[in-house]
């Protein structure tokens, strides 16, 4: 199990990457900041960075809207 944004519990699966998680949530907004257990993940590592089981993942969306 991993916890996203201190609220949503999601089933963990072997090899789940940051990109995979974003896809699962349909998080398509370009201005996001992802951290795993408090450490910010550089954008270029999203496709390869694997999320460990039990991780506290934050996907912070910056402000949008006209």
């Amino acid at each position: 199990m991993i916890r996203v944004n201190n609220r949503d519990e999601v089933e963990w699966e072997e090899g789940l990457t940051v990109s995979g998680l974003l896809e699962r949530f349909r998080y398509t907004f370009p201005h996001i900041i992802v951290s795993i257990n408090g450490e910010v993940v550089p954008r270029e590592e999203y496709p390869t960075r694997v999320i460990p089981n039990g991780a506290d993942v934050r996907v912070i969306h910056l402000i949008a809207g006209g």
Binding site: N5, T28, F29, P30, H31, R58, L62, A64, G66
Partner: protein, 716 residues
């Protein structure tokens, strides 16, 4: 230019002047024009104005406050339209520094309205010698007001031969007034249109001359019917000419300081825009797909937040339609250049059928409001509506939201073909929506009713058609008399407040907190939400004091923003604005000072609302459609989400409840939450539980002028 205009039109009043030099962003004078008695005069900009009200919307509110009475109505001659840019307005080194702010008493809210708009008018007005123009009175016949900076002459001229609709008047003025090619660059007009005349939702079009397209283009001050006030005053156009704009036209205190932060932002835009929002290629339409993905795109009068056909009107579609490779900035030096246009569009209905025109936009709000919210997913229909709204001088946001309301009423059986005069206003009927727009512009048929806005329609439908007023109240997406802009807020309590707890009505330019709240869960407590509903409205108000566009603040983000303490605020860009403000005005300020400046003006505007009979807790109410599901189909479309809340938050068992019972239980809970939010926000803002700024708050902000304190005392 003045001689040429004089030969063709009778001059009703003339004023000659020597344009003063601009010093540190200010000319030190505002222009007063009274159309009832044809007077033109200069007024000094006082230290209090500069210190407390800064410029732009602040100047507008200050001048309007002194121009009107407590009981002034929107169509009284003493109502004013004030236009001002602000001290940073006209800077060419930093993107987004050419906005104008417009204020007036609104025909739909009957209170103070403000609108932020691009185009060249505000900065050119300053470079023609004026920090603001304040127009009072009402002309007997149609007029134009011409401000000729280089000629040192201002005239009020009769204008029987001047067209009314914007795409005509904009071209006409350029042809009439520009003697040589270069004159065109430094002429800007403000106009409305026949739709502004015949509805209450009129907008103003601010022109900027597009050197590549060799044509004037237009940005809209859309909200709250200021275009209607403009036509009620019998103004066909305001037009200004300045001398050439230069990098130091503002005579800033420290040009290098401005250039430094400007160069930094230009580089960010150059390096990262393509991988971020692609503003330079698609502009705000990039938001369509995003909002659809997050269930925030209004569909069918805000019932739903997404639709499978959204892909037909998303950013990819508009990127292909917009002419690429042109510098689409609405002020000089804006490399974010998001003011795109569709060229060579052939109009297919109405009085201009067959004309080939430039369509300015569409912007996100127009696509979402006139498209998805009305169930219209045809880009050509959206372009047709966009073109006609602009040239008729009708606000696309109000048009979209009120048409969606009408369509829901039609589908609910409140309206039928007989009542609409034959228009089958089902969701998705683009042709009927377009015909409704033409009727509005002509002030005929059902268009005459719809053009009054949702608040009046609710009354009319209840009185004349026997509709249930409670249902109309629930689904009519207006607050304070202003139609909602285009975001679904049901799952974000903070944004329900972002719309409801505004000064002018539900427009997203005060706060947009949906992601912070609903997605990122960064505002879990009422206090967190209240803090955001303090900071962000103040921050965004500040752009309007200075003549700035909000987009370069957060539609481009530096790559290391993620590692800052408060990434949502984009601290690096906030610091840019500190540099920019100090660089222009020479005033030493901190980031906190910028917020305090806004607080003073924001609270002044709240007191202004009170003075006009509004601005209390009851006026911050919102329609339930913005809070939760009103109808059974709406609940059931997102049943999993709502059932979960009933179960987890309220401890109810949805299995044992009918949908109606579930709607009622959810409603009670969500409405209570909104009331608790109001309490927290008022407390944070230093207001009473009735929403009245406390005297101590006015004192802290230095706006405890006797006449201001006298207003709040009535409510304490």
């Amino acid at each position: 230019m003045s001689e040429k205009t004089q030969t063709t039109r009778r001059v009703l009043a003339e004023y000659t002047y020597e344009p003063p030099p601009v010093e540190r962003g200010y000319t030190g004078r505002t222009l007063y024009v009274n159309l009832s008695n044809n007077t033109i005069a200069a007024k000094p900009v006082t230290d209090v104005m500069k210190e407390k009200f800064i410029g732009g919307r602040g100047f507008g509110l200050w001048l309007l406050w002194h121009g009107v009475k407590d009981d002034t109505q929107w169509n009284d001659p003493e109502n004013e339209i004030v236009i001002s840019s602000g001290p940073i307005g006209g800077v060419t080194q930093y993107p987004g520094s050419g906005k104008s702010l417009v204020v007036a008493i609104s025909p739909t809210t009957h209170s103070v309205m403000d609108s932020n708009v691009g185009g060249h008018f505000g900065p050119l007005l300053k470079f023609a010698g004026w920090d603001a123009i304040e127009i009072q009175g009402k002309a007997e016949e149609d007029v134009i007001v011409v401000i000729d900076g280089p000629g040192g002459r201002i005239t009020i001229e009769e204008a029987p031969d001047v067209p009314v609709d914007t795409h005509l008047v904009g071209h006409w003025l350029i042809e009439q007034l520009a003697e040589k090619e270069e004159d065109r660059y430094f002429i800007s007009s403000v106009s409305a249109g026949t739709g502004a005349e015949n509805t209450l939702i009129g907008c103003l079009n601010f022109s900027f001359y597009d050197r590549r397209r060799k044509a004037p283009r237009f940005k809209q001050a859309g909200r709250g019917g200021i275009g209607t006030v403009f036509r009620d005053k019998h103004i066909k156009a305001l037009v200004v000419r300045s001398g050439p704009v230069r990098g130091d036209s503002n005579h800033p205190a420290d040009l290098q300081r401005i250039a430094r932060v400007g160069a930094k932002l230009h580089k960010e835009i150059h390096d990262y825009d393509d991988e971020q929002n692609r503003m330079r290629k698609r502009g705000t339409p990039y938001l369509v797909q995003i909002m659809n993905d997050y269930d925030l795109l209004p569909v069918h009068n805000f019932k739903y937040g997404s639709h499978p056909d959204a892909v037909k009107i998303n950013g990819d579609v508009w990127e292909a339609r917009f002419t690429q490779g042109l510098p689409d900035g609405c002020w000089y030096g804006c490399t974010l250049s998001c003011s795109h246009a569709v060229d060579g569009y052939t109009v297919r209905t109405g009085p201009y059928k067959g004309q080939t025109v430039i369509v300015d936009g569409p912007e996100y709000e127009t696509i979402a409001g006139c498209g998805a919210n009305c169930g219209i997913f045809d880009p050509d229909a959206i372009l047709e509506i966009n073109f006609y709204c602009d040239t008729y001088g009708i606000d696309t946001i109000s048009f979209g939201t009120l048409t969606a309301f009408v369509m829901e009423c039609y589908e609910a059986g409140i309206l039928d073909k007989e009542k609409t005069g034959g228009l089958e206003l089902h969701f998705g009927n683009a042709e009927a929506a377009i015909e409704l727009l033409h009727q509005m512009a002509r002030g005929e048929g059902f268009g005459k009713i719809a053009g009054q806005g949702i608040r009046r329609m609710k009354q009319i439908f209840a009185e004349r058609f026997g509709a249930d007023p409670a249902f109309l109240q629930d689904i009519g997406m207006e607050a304070k008399g202003l139609e909602y802009s285009e975001y679904v807020t049901k799952e974000s309590l903070a944004q329900q407040g972002g719309y409801g707890l505004t000064n002018k009505g539900p427009q997203h330019d005060e706060a947009w907190l949906i992601f912070m709240d609903m997605v990122s869960n960064l505002l879990p407590t009422f206090e967190d939400k209240a803090e955001a509903l303090h900071y962000f409205p103040m921050w965004r108000t500040w752009f309007g004091l200075c003549g700035l566009c909000k987009l370069p603040w957060n539609d481009i983000v530096p790559p290391d923003n993620a590692y800052t303490d408060e990434p949502a605020k984009i601290p690096d860009h906030v610091q840019n604005y500190v540099e920019l403000f100090s660089g222009v005005t020479g005033r030493k300020v901190t980031a906190d000072d910028l917020i305090t400046m806004s607080e003073a003006v924001y609270n002044f505007q709240r007191v202004f609302n009170l003075r006009l009979g509004f601005g209390r807790r009851e006026h911050d109410a919102v329609p339930y459609r913005s809070v939760g599901p009103v109808t059974v189909e709406e609940y059931e479309s997102r049943a999993e989400r709502y059932d979960k809340q009933l179960q987890e938050t309220l401890g109810l068992d949805p299995e044992k409840m009918t949908t109606e019972e579930k709607i009622a239980a959810l409603r009670q809970y969500r409405e209570e939450q909104y009331q608790k939010l109001i309490d927290a926000v008022y407390k944070r803002r230093g207001w009473t539980s009735d929403g009245v700024p406390k005297v101590e708050t006015l004192k802290r902000l230095g706006i405890d002028f006797p006449e201001v304190v006298a207003v709040v005392k009535k409510y304490l």
